[in-house]
Structures are given as C-alpha cells and as structure tokens.
C-alpha cells in the first residue's frame, strides 16, 4: 500500500499535523457526559431535570460540532450557516409555542 510522501511542513511527522489527542479527549468527554446525563436523570430535581438534560446534550453537541466537525477552522461562512440553523430552529419553536402557550389567555381591550 503505497504511502504517498507527505509534503506537509517538512520535518514534522504526518500525525503531528493531525493530532489524535483531541479526538480521544472528545470521545471520553462524550462518554462521560452520557453517563452523567443518565445518572442525573434518576435524581429528582423537579422541573430542573429537563433543563439539566438539555444542557448536557447541548455541551455534547458543542463538543461534536467544534472538534469532530472542525467548524472553528472552516471559515466564517460555515459558522454563519451553523448558527443560522440554530436561529431558525428557535424561531420555529418560539412562534409555534407562542400560540399554544397563550391559547387560553383571554385578551381584553379596555
């Protein structure tokens, strides 16, 4: 299997420019957070349970997006697209729930 000569900056082993450590760190981080979220789910925190579960999921998502998906060094436009997705998702959630939450509210116009 011919290993083509790597012409990245000379003198630096190929694997250095593509370090393994961040991937492994993220892997163990995600595993840890999964274990955490499962155990915390059994602890009765009242209404906080959902927020905690979503917060942990958010952190896991950030880890995947930032490290595994190389977003930081993919340029401004990719950042913009990723955040546009989040923004319009939130618009969908907010304006839909705005209807359901206020359906019982009677509007008077004194």
């Amino acid at each position: 299997m011919n290993q083509p000569a790597t012409t990245s900056s000379p003198g630096e082993p190929a694997s250095a420019s593509y370090p393994l450590r961040p991937y492994l760190l993220v892997f163990f981080g995600l595993m840890g957070l999964t274990a955490l979220t499962t155990t915390v789910a059994y602890v009765d925190l009242g209404f906080l349970n959902t927020t905690v579960a979503l917060a942990i999921a958010g952190v896991k998502a950030l880890l995947v997006v930032l490290i595994f998906m190389h977003v930081p060094h993919s340029g401004k436009i990719v950042w913009a697209l990723a955040s546009a997705g989040l923004l319009f998702l939130i618009i969908l959630f907010l304006l839909t729930m705005n209807d359901y939450v206020t359906r019982a509210m009677v509007m008077g116009w004194e």
């Binding site: 009677v106 509007m107 008077g108 116009w109």
Partner: protein
Amino acid sequence: MLEKLGIFPEAASEFADQVDYLYFFLIGVTIFFVTVIVAALAYLSVRYRHRRSPVPTPVHGSILLELTWSGIPLVIALFIFGWGAKLYIEHQDMPPDGIEISVTGKQWMWKLQHPSGQREINALHVPVGVPILLTMTSEDVIHSFYVPAFRFKRDVVPGVYTRAHFTADKTGSFHLFCAEYCGTDHSVMIGKVVVMEPSEYEAWLSGQPAGETPVQAGERLFTDLRCNTCHAAGSDQKGPDLAGVFGSKRLLVGGGEAIADEEYIRESILRPARKVVFGYEPLMPTYQGQVNETQILSLMAYLKTLGGAAEGANP
C-alpha cells in the same frame, strides 16, 4: 347603493359596518399608492423615453428619500394593524348573556341546536338584536362557519370547542357557507341564517316540535350512561360530586389545577385519565366513541344546571 349593483355584500350586523369602514379605508390606501406608482411610472417613462432623452444622466441615491418611503408605509401599516387588531379584540370576549346555540359541523351539513331543544339542519333562526353565543365543534374534519352578511367566520376544529358570537341588527335571510375545504360536497354544505323580529322568533320557536331540550337529554344520558352510579351525591362517591362543577376550580392529582370549562368537561368524558381530581382514583372508563358531540353538549347543558357557580341558566 353598492349592494344593488351586486358588487358589495349586505351588512347585517354592527360588526359588519365596522369591518366595512376598515375595508374602505384600506381600499383608499391601495388606490392612492397604486395611482401614485402607476402615474410615476407613466410620467417618467414618457418624459425620459429614449427619443426625448437619448443620454441618461446618473442620479445619486438619497438616504433621506429611502427613509421617507419606508418610514411612511411603516406608519400607515402600523395604523392599519392597530385598527384591525382593536376591531378583532373587541369582538373576542363573549357578551355576558345571549342565546346559546350549539353548532356541530359534520361532513357536509351544519347541525344547529337551540337552548330550548329545537334542532335545525343547515338553517338558523335567530331574533334580531340579541347576541347569539355559539359553541362550535366538528365531528370529522375542519369546517368553517361563515356568514358573509355578519362578516363572521370561525373554523370548527374536531376535538376543540370554539366559542364565538355575533349580533344581527337587520332582519332577513342571509347566506351560511362552509369556508374551509372539507371534501366532496364542501360547496353544498351551505344554508340560511334567518333573522326575525323577536315576536316572530318566539312564534317560530313554539311552532317547532320542541324536542327534548339539551338539559333533558343530558339528564337522560346522565342515567343511561350510568354516570350517576359514581357521581350522584350519596352514591359511594367513587367519582367527584358534580353539583356546581361548571366553572369551578378543580385540584388535580399530581399538583396543578384546572377550571372546569367546556373543554375540561369534554376531556373528562372522553379521556378521564388526563386530569384526575385530587383525592380520587382514575377509575372512570373512557366514553370515547360511545357519545357523539351533540350528546356531550347535552350532558354539559345538564351539568350547568346542577346548581352551584354557573351563571343564570338561559331561558
């Protein structure tokens, strides 16, 4: 005047007149802007046509001009929004008293029921000047109860009670349409709303075969469906006593509380386990499929009469 030409609908309710004023204002705004734009287009096209000005001279944009022609439309837009919103909200809250009519939309007919038991299909006889309070639902798909003469339209959605009202201020017979597409005979699901003098209405009412009033039907159903075995006072009280239930606040199992309005009662009949009153077990079986919408309305009419907090029962 315009009605005669057949290009403007009759206005038979006070709300209709207000909607018409707003409509004319908006027509004015549209005519004004369209004439301004078309006149500008025409004048500029003719004045600067190629033959008359063969050489175009560049023109600098002007921020001020841009701000004016986005600011002024914004102000007009917000004014129109305000006027429309005020009209809509004022018409939202139900007048305290009036004739309670229950409307049930069913694939391709309107079933209407008067408080005194008269049932009508695709027709509604109402006295002039008296607020008509509608409790509307649908037995299958979404329909829409639309009376153009009153500028009144509300969708009837299955599984939900819609409360709405209108007040006719002119006698006569007006169109009733279904406005939300509901299948093959959507265009035949129409009828008449006949507005009569109060005396005529009473005569019509008494002339009608006074069927079982909803309250009587409700009472009969209350025993037929054996609700009384658990709910009647003095029984072994497996279910909460229903005297004065309508409008009261119910404490629920698992915390939280709910006002026992139409929605709550319908839900408790069809899906009792959803909201169980504190201190009771979720033993009540579901009556889903055993009672139709009109029967639920009758049960509700009966429960309203079981004394307690409900406002004075209507005539």
